[in-house]
């Protein structure tokens, strides 16, 4: 048990913080501790979690991707157009098209990174501008509201009437999210490919000497994120019931913050699916709790920013590091 805690310190710390917050919010508000609210949290967090597990794979492989959120917007638009051409389609063809387009966009990043040795942050900042600029240019910023019915109809997987007459519902995005989370977990912890990704992120030269195919690693990592971005994009369109070209603009940094809060390391080799999901949930619960506590919505981001800043500062500060600093202070006074 002690070993488990030590090797998953970030996850346990996040769990403890989330638990403490839940206890506090349950006592401080009337509505937090309810099935309806819990389901709501899951429904609203689904898209971010899908993005997050995708980004996690790239971070584990030692890369970073700034372009995935706008890539998701491109996929939304592209998928909506293609579905129109083929006469409507359905969930299966929709997910295949979205996933496929996403993989293509991710593979383009991997191609630039692997073929021309452009480091991932430079390559993806370039593709961020290319994807977003071209999307806005060709769409003129016009949204699509005329989506196929199957895409905009809410699909309720589980529902229960609450005592106050409202309905607690789990909707399709949660199922898709669960499948994506499980698939990512399977990939990175249970398959040889996943372990190679970890090894490549941890020590690229060591991985190379073992004969791991470096190019394949880049294409798998960025392709996986591309696929998740595509699926997440489609689900977001389903959830919002519209396609707005700049709806996901800026989402990349929020997701990045959540994933790293969940213990993934910029630089590679470290990170878990559980931590990643907890990171997204921590932010979602904070926002939800602030809402229920009646805090002005304008203050949410400020508080969340302060929390992340504090979390990063604390998680990077061990006591030994702080002590000499404090001792020096003391000596000078």
């Amino acid at each position: 048990m002690g070993k488990l805690v030590r090797s998953h310190a970030t996850e346990f710390a996040l769990l403890a913080v989330i638990a403490a917050m839940c206890v506090f919010l349950s006592l401080a508000t009337n509505n937090f501790f309810s099935l309806g609210n819990a389901f709501d949290l899951l429904n609203t967090s689904s898209v971010n979690i899908i993005f997050a597990v995708g980004l996690l794979v790239v971070l584990i492989a030692g890369g970073i991707d700034i372009s995935f959120a706008v890539a998701a917007s491109v996929v939304q638009y592209g998928a909506a157009l293609i579905l129109g051409w083929i006469g409507g389609g359905g969930w299966i063809s929709g997910l295949l098209i979205a996933g496929g387009l996403g993989i293509l966009l991710g593979a383009f990043n991997a191609f630039l990174i692997h073929r021309f040795r452009i480091i991932s942050i430079v390559a993806t900042i370039a593709t961020f501008n290319i994807y977003f600029g071209l999307l806005m240019f060709f769409t003129q910023g016009v949204s699509i509201y005329d989506l196929p019915d199957w895409l905009t109809d809410r699909i309720i997987l589980f529902e229960q009437e609450m005592a106050d007459g409202t309905w607690a519902e789990i909707t399709l995005p949660v199922l898709v999210m669960a499948v994506c989370v499980f698939a990512t977990w399977l990939l990175i912890t249970r398959t040889t490919t996943g372990r190679q990704l970890y090894a490549f992120g941890d020590n690229p030269e060591g991985a190379r000497r073992f004969g791991i195919n470096i190019g394949a690693m880049q294409f798998i990592a960025f392709g996986w994120l591309g696929m998740m971005a595509g699926i997440g994009g489609l689900i977001q369109a389903h959830y919002a019931q519209e396609v707005v070209p700049n709806a996901l603009y800026g989402r990349e940094l929020d997701v990045l913050a959540a994933v790293v809060l969940g213990g993934a390391r910029l630089g590679g080799g470290k990170g878990s699916v559980l931590g990643c999901v907890l990171g997204v949930l921590l932010i979602a619960i904070t926002q939800n709790g602030l809402n229920l506590l009646g805090v002005s919505p304008f203050a949410f981001k400020m508080i969340i920013g302060a929390i992340i800043l504090a979390a990063i500062t604390l998680s990077n500060t061990s006591l030994e590091k702080l002590l000499p600093f404090m001792r020096q202070r003391g000596a000078r006074q």
Binding site: T189, R195, G269
Partner: protein, 503 residues
């Protein structure tokens, strides 16, 4: 034609011929041949940059040699290897940098070969764990295989690297500079392992430029110089100095430089300095113009002692006087201002800023001296650099070239010049010849002797006993953080100090 030695009719396990390799226009290997017999312990010797590592990378398939190469291994002929064929054939390497994965568990590191392969499969963690435990058992070591590797010390990681090499059916194991970061008892353990491997029929190749430890157990030695084969020799009758001559192509004649320092004023005095767990109750004094040698095994607390004098570590107790005045530095900046300089043992990552220019590396510690009118002056920087480069005889292209383009010896001269430019009273040299070719070491000590003549007080730290014996005026032996004895090179023999240190 290089000298070769008959293999006595035994068919070699591995033989390479016509190996050529070029990097960016520079010939790294020129027509090299190399043979290893089944079950033998072989030494591959050569200076830094002689092509040893390139040769191993060709044998293990990391690099592909130029056309015409013939590689015969275990009865099969190849034009080049690949990492997969090499591993499948039982060729294993323990790399100098270990090439391990710190974030992964020990089990996964040892049994990593199970996740290699073209097509994705499910990972069998239980099989991995069993494999790892078996490999560790074979070495007679108990480690918790479920902990991440980063929780273990360098020596323990080396054990993991060895265990990794032994899983599967290893027939040929390369150890690339295996003793560089080990203490004596750890080195002894490593040699025992090599011996037992050899007995069980596994061939072991030690790749090293420091052969004292492995000389006694090897049967043959192959020497490379400048990418070419010098020869293959039996170990019988081979001495360290003969190998050095073969590696460098030069002969060395060292003499004890120690001299009396008489009544020169004391520059540094240390009394009862302690830092629990690292060093305890250290007292000594260094006079103007004196070179004090400090030697001892790795982990004897030498570097920590030096860093404490340099203000980068805080001693728990004890006192330090510089030029007769008590000092307690809050940072190394204060120490530098007071006239203390410390040349780091780790030139590659701490001593110099490798990608930056020669000029900037030299000027970094004395920026206040190249100011004019409150701003840094390029002209004054150029003059400062010109002066020191001339004084220390450094060979450079342009001042703006990256310091990483220089050879180890010239880099070390730049590092020394950096500190001399701060006008120090006390210069602490921590392992100044690490990564410096044998041929260039004499030049470094030439400079050290000249500096002492000019009145600098010098502390020379090295785990190579001959270095302090020949170049210091007095030698302090440290063991397990404590002062273990004083030696005067004028009245004792090298063997006496070596016996005390290694015995």
């Amino acid at each position: 034609m290089a000298e070769t030695m008959s293999t006595g009719g035994v068919k070699p396990l591995l033989s390479l011929h016509n190996i050529n390799m070029t990097f960016g226009g520079i010939k790294a290997l020129k027509d090299v041949s190399f043979e290893v017999l089944p079950g033998e312990i072989h030494c591959l010797a050569g200076e830094n940059g002689s092509g040893k590592s390139t040769l191993i990378k060709i044998i293990t398939g990391v690099y592909r040699p130029e056309a015409g190469a013939v590689i015969e291994y275990d009865g099969q002929t190849f034009s080049h290897m690949s990492p997969v064929t090499a591993q499948a054939g039982g060729i294993q390497v323990i790399w100098q940098d270990l090439a391990l994965f710190p974030e992964m568990t020990v089990a996964e590191n040892i049994a990593f070969h199970t996740v290699i392969g073209r097509w994705p499969r499910l990972v069998d963690y239980r099989h991995m764990r069993r494999t790892a435990l078996k490999a560790l058992q074979r070495l007679g070591v108990a480690l918790d295989v479920d902990l991440p590797l980063k929780d273990y010390s360098i020596a323990q990681r080396q054990i993991v690297a060895i265990a990794r090499a032994l899983v599967g059916e290893a027939k040929l194991v390369f150890m690339d500079e295996p003793t560089a970061s080990l203490t004596q008892s750890e080195t002894d353990h490593l040699i025992d392992i090599a011996r037992s491997l050899s007995v069980s029929g596994v061939a072991v190749v030690f790749v090293s430029h420091r052969l004292a430890e492995v000389l006694e157990i090897s049967s043959r030695i192959t020497v490379l110089r400048d990418g070419a084969l010098v020869g293959v020799y039996p170990v019988e009758g081979m001495t360290q100095s003969r190998i050095t001559e073969l590696m460098t192509g030069k002969t060395f004649n060292q003499q004890v430089r120690a001299k009396p320092v008489g009544d020169e004023p004391i520059v540094l005095e240390v009394k009862g300095l302690s830092r629990p767990g690292q060093f305890e109750d250290i007292s000594f004094a260094v006079r103007r113009g004196e070179t004090l040698g400090i030697t001892g095994l790795l982990g004897a607390g030498r570097t920590e002692l030096a860093l404490s004098i340099f203000g980068m570590l805080k001693p728990r107790s004890g006192r330090v006087w510089l030029n007769g005045r008590p000092v307690r530095f809050s940072s190394n900046r204060k120490a530098i201002e007071a006239g203390v300089a410390y040349l780091s043992e780790d030139r590659l990552s701490l001593g110099l800023i490798q990608p930056q220019s020669i000029a900037d590396n030299l000027a970094i510690a004395s920026l206040d001296r190249i100011k004019s009118g409150g701003l840094l002056s390029d002209e004054r920087k150029r003059r400062l650099v010109d002066r020191w480069i001339a004084d220390l005889g450094v060979k450079i292209g342009r001042q703006s070239d990256a310091v990483s383009t220089l050879s180890g010896g010239n880099q070390q001269r730049i590092a020394i010049a950096k500190w001399l430019a701060t006008d120090p009273k006390l210069l602490i040299l921590d392992a100044p010849t690490v990564g410096v070719d044998v041929g260039a070491r004499a030049g470094i000590f030439e400079i050290v002797a000249k500096l002492a003549e000019c009145g600098l007080a010098i502390i020379l730290i090295s785990d190579e006993v001959p270095e302090v014996y020949f170049n210091a005026d007095r030698v302090l032996h440290m063991a397990q953080g404590k002062m273990a004895g004083w030696f005067d090179p004028r009245t004792c023999s090298l063997g006496q100090i070596e016996a005390a240190v290694y015995g």
